[in-house]
Every structure is written in C-alpha cells, then in structure tokens.
C-alpha cells in the first residue's frame, strides 16, 4: 500500500508538528509514508473567495503530484473536503483519480486501516469540536470521537453547541471580522465552560482561529490537532 501525506499549506508552514505526528502515527501502524515534494496548497482560499481560475493549476498539480499513490492522507477536514467536493467542479476529468483516493486522517484510520484503537496515550481532559467541513462535507460522523474514546488516559468532555461553526471560514474571518469574532467568542466560552485542558479538532485552520481567540482571552485551554493526540504513547511520554 503506497500512502502519501498531503500536509496542506497551513500545517506545512505553521503546524509542522501535526505533520510529524501523522508520520509517527502511521509508521507505528506499519504504514510507509511518502511525501512528494511537489505538493503545495489545495487551492481552497482561492476557490472559496471566488478566484476559481487561480485554483485550477493547484487542483491539477495535486492530481499530478499524487499520481501513483494508493491513498492520499490529509490531516485537515477542510482541505480533504476541498479535494473531494470541489475538485470535480474545477476539473473533474484531470482530478478524478486523486479525488477518489483522498482521505481525511480519521477516515483513513477507521475506514481504510479499520482501527479505532491506535495505541495512543494522552492523560488529559479533552473536548472535541467537529469542524464544519469534516462534519457536513465529508460526513466524518463519529470517527474522530471513536478514535479519541480509545485513547488511554484521555477523558472526553462534551462541548455545548459543538456542531456550531467556530467562525473561521477562511477569508470570512477577515472580510466579516465582527461576525467571525462573535462566533469565535461564543465557541471559546463554550470550550472554557467544559474545563478541558485541550480542545481537539481534525483541522488546524479552525484551531488557529479557536486558539488565537482562546489565548487572547487568556484561557487555559490549549488547541490540539487530533493527530498529535493519537501519535502520543506512554513510552514517548516518559
């Protein structure tokens, strides 16, 4: 099984630790991970802001770069959804193969590898925010929760209004900064009310917004990508 990691531009530049966690996790599960260097951005910022034409070369690049891999694993619900839902609208023919082989990380673990207990250890209280594109475009359902529930030491606490958007929305966060900030403040308040040490999602772009809001408010809760929880083990923690 030839598996490629599509790191995504945000993880690559701002959250490389998430990518390292994915590599650690998949290698622990016996998967050989490839990282084609020609990859870059899925084109979502351009496409969702109305610059479809600017997204075309990036969609074709994706299809080209990941040709020859059986599975493409993406540690981002939003970028995976961009590929799966929007690439057919950009260039259905050129991207057909890569679209069908693209999986968000938790989908890959649960659906392709068939595991929910990945042998992880994370001795903290965690609340889970299902990000919109993972929830509604990919239909991740309870896959992330099942993975988290199997983590030793982890106590999962419920988040009120969990399925409400955090207010990020890409360029929405700056084009409609007031509404975005109001949504972010409500999300942060609900997160604080859980008393959790960490808030977990499948998407660092949403976490960038949630985390930026939490630190500005002086909250103790820290943002953490699900890969970084699943990569942890008792041995590594010692």
């Amino acid at each position: 099984m030839r598996v490629a990691l599509f790191i995504t531009c945000i993880n690559d530049t701002l959250y490389p630790g998430t990518g390292q966690a994915v590599v650690t996790l998949l290698e622990r599960l016996g998967i050989e991970v490839g990282f084609p260097g020609g990859q870059s951005c899925c084109g979502q910022p351009q496409f969702n802001t109305g610059y479809r034409k600017e997204a075309v070369p990036l969609a074709r690049r994706y299809a080209d770069v990941f040709r020859g891999y059986d599975h493409i694993v993406v540690p981002s619900g939003s970028c995976a959804a961009m590929v799966r839902d929007n690439y057919p609208r950009i260039d259905a023919e050129a991207t057909a193969g890569s679209v069908a082989r693209t999986y968000e990380l938790t989908e890959f673990l649960v659906d392709v590898l068939g595991v929910t207990d990945v042998g992880a250890y994370y001795p903290h209280t965690v609340t889970y925010h299902p990000t919109c594109h993972g929830l509604r475009m990919l239909g991740l359902g309870d896959r992330p929760r099942r993975l988290l529930e199997a983590v030793r030491g982890l106590r999962l606490v419920e988040l009120e209004g969990a399925e409400e958007c955090c207010g990020f929305g890409g360029t929405f966060a700056v084009k409609n900064a007031d509404v975005s900030a109001a949504m972010g403040a409500d999300k942060a308040r609900h997160i604080e009310e859980t008393g959790a040490e960490a808030v977990c999602t499948v998407d660092n772009s949403c976490l960038m917004h949630i985390g930026g809001t939490l630190t500005r408010r002086g909250s103790a809760t820290r943002p953490v990508h699900i890969a970084e929880i699943l990569a942890g083990t008792e041995e590594a923690a010692l």
């Binding site: 490839g34 990282f35 600017e54 690049r61 890409g170 409609n176 900064a177 509404v179 109001a182 949504m183």
Partner: protein, 499 residues
Amino acid sequence: MSGTYLGMPSFPRAAAASTRDMRLRGNLRHATHTIRAKRAKAVEELGDWEQLRAAGAALKNRTLRHLDHYLEQLEAAVSAAGGHVHWACDAEEANRIVTELVRETGESEVVKVKSMATQETGLNDALAEAGISAYETDLAELIVQLGDDLPSHILVPAIHRNRDQIRDIFREKMGSWGRAAPRNLSDDPAELAEAARLHLREKFLNAKVGVSGANFMVAESGTLVVVESEGNGRMCLTLPETLISVVGIEKIVPTWQDLEVFLQTLPRSSTAERMNPYTSTWTGTTDEDGPSAFHLVLLDNGRTDALADTVGRQALRCIRCSACLNVCPVYERAGGHAYGSAYPGPIGAILTPQLRGVQSELDASLPYASSLCGACYEVCPVAIDIPEVLVHLRERVVEGGTVTVRGQKTTIKPAKGHAAERAVMRAARWTFDHPRALRAGQRLAARSRRLTPRRLPLPGAGKAWSDSRDLPRPAPESFRDWWLRNRGPDTAGHEGDPE
C-alpha cells in the same frame, strides 16, 4: 411601513453594529435556538425525510425546467375559474398593477396577508404614495409595521423584538392606526395577542380589498395556496370583495398531488409543526362565497434571469421556510436587517444578488456573508446547496462575466474594491504552484518568526484578524524542511517545478 432597504451599508458594516447590540443578540439567540431544536425533532419523526427532500427538489427542478408551460397552464386555469391574470416583469410594474386595481375599487385601504413577494416589491410604500393605506395583519408583520421597522426574518419578521419591546410598540402606536391598545397592557403574550386581535378584527370587518401572496400555485386547476398559523390570512382571503395576489412565478407546482410533498416539509421546516393550523386554497371566484373579484399578479423581478444561471437557479426552489436562517451562525449574530433585503439569512445571501445583481456594495457583499459552514444546506427541505451558490456568486463578484439581465446575455465587470485581494490570490497561487519559491518564503518567515507580532495595529486583513485573535507564528522549521532533513527527498515525488 416606511422603512426602506435602499442605500443600506454593506453587510460587514451593518453587522459591525448589530453584533454589538446585546439585546438583539439575546433575542435572536433565544428565538433561533428554540425553533432550531424544535425543527430537528419534527424532522426526526419522519422516516422518509431524505426522500421527501429529494422529491421536493426534483419536483421544483422539473417545474422550473418547464416553467413557461406551467405558467400558461396556470393562466388558463385561473381565467377559466373567473380570475384575472396580470404579468409583472419587475417590482415597479407589479406595484403599478396593484395600485391601479385598488383604485378601480374606489377604496383607500387594503388588508394584507403576510407576503414575501410584496415585501420584495415594496408594495406598501407604493400604495402609500398613491394614498392607499395597507394594513399588515400577520401578527409579526403588524409589530414591524407599527414599529416603523423592517422585517428581519422570513417567517418571524419581528424576531428581533422581545415582549417588552412589543408591549411598548402596541401601547404607543396602535391608536394611530386604529383601535388602541389598553393603557395598562402588560407583556403577557396572551394580553398582547388579545390587543392585536381586537385591533385587527376592526380591519378585517371593514376591509373591501385584500392583498396576499401565495406559498404555492397549482397549475392544473389554477388554485392558490396559503399556509399560515394565525388564521388572520384566511380572514383577508375570505372577507373582502376583491382579492389581489402577488406571487413569484417560481411558486408553481404542476398538480395537487405535488402539494403532498411540500405540505409535509414546509411546516416541519418552518414552524416545526407536523401540520400548519390553516391551509387556505382558492380557485378563481365562487358566487356568494368569498371575494367576487380575484386578480393574480405574476411577478418575475429577476427570476427568469436567475433561471438562466445553471448553478444559481437552484435558489428558485426555495419555499421560504426559514430553516436556513434558524441554523445560521452568521444570521444569529448579524441579524436580518444586515442583509438589506426582504430575504435575510443564507437564502437571502444567494437570492438577493441574483434578483438585484451584484453591482451595489451591499449586494456584492452578500455572497461573503457566510463562513460556508454548510448548516443551511443540511436543513434545506428542497436541498439547495447554498454554499455552492455562494461560492459561485463570489466568482461573479470578483471576476464579473456573463449574466442574464432582463433576458439578455450581458457581460459585467468585476465589482469594485477587489484589486488588492485579486493580486494576493494570484501571488499566492503562483507561489503554491512553484514549491521552491514556497520553500524559500517559508524559510524567510521561519527566520523572522520572532518579529511576527500577535497583534497588528495597521488597518487591513491583519488587523481585522488580530483585533480579537492572536496571530499564529510561523514554525521555526516547515514540515517540508523537517522531512528533507530527516527523510531526504521523496523518491516517488518530484519537486514539480523546473530548476
């Protein structure tokens, strides 16, 4: 109603004010969360919801594809049943037709059934200019009208008001429109409803002309359908001598049987009821029963142009249930007035720019009034992929292109104010399409990361972000550099751009 949507600010500017109005935020949060939860329960009860949703979408698609045929069938059926059919290509023509019809009756007052089409055309203002008083009789529309206000929700136009505010409006304003409210009126809902009932009863009994819209028009029989909760609509539909209905051309269904689907999905989606309390249907006129004159004004007002757009046309499937408003996190915080049209919320954000175009600053800002969270699409009973249409309309805003205006293919220019953004998007695309340049940029950012502040003082996107959120810092080493250092170049991959 003297409020107007003309000259309203762009969505972000209007929302900047409304997000700070804590009473408005509280009213909207309470109302939308209540109805949201009830709707979810009402929909869960049905085992075949997804099939009903698909059937509704398919019925509307098929009808819209053959709209010309069904409109002519409807016109023939209404005429055969004693009604008169008028065609209005835009709001102005519709208002002119209605004004003339009222004048012909010699009356100077009309009672109105809650109607989105006449809100869209601004009929009340047009009638007022002609010296005709239009009385809204839907309870929430009455509150809006008495308060000299604008509706902020499709189903619950006064959703932005709470009981205290309604009591004050009734006490202060009812007397100048008709029967006054008791001076000691409290904010008890039953007392408020009683005051409205007594006030409106006078209007119903005196009215000679009624004006309505319709939820559906059945082409095969020429029957119009209004669904409502209060029964006030039925008063207006049955008591006056003349009834004038202004209806968008997309409200057609081919047969009575097709109503079966929508009369299940509409009440559950809008009021979370299994069945709405009043469903009124009428076909032309009937001797000694109801109005003796019936006029149907068929309103286009941009609908045919929207129909020409293969992506945008799905907005015409809308049955005005408001489910998308009630789940929308943006609507909940910005409020309905920020959308600057009779159609607020997610559906308004895709409908208004199609009906009015994207040339004004406000209309060009509407497709961006969404985080694309997709909650609206999830609840839509006719499966309108609102995020898809929003993105499609964003492309129209920033790129311009070919659109249909009054039936003619027209090329429009990109909306103003996007030049800097376009340059950034192009530069980003170029960088992402040249991974070596991307890597160089990442290394530069990593080296200067200590210089990246958590807040930015200068105006622009950075400040818009960092006013409420700390800025993220670039990592000391990008993932791709970490990979190269630890694993070396991936043999299967390639750099993708020439040296």
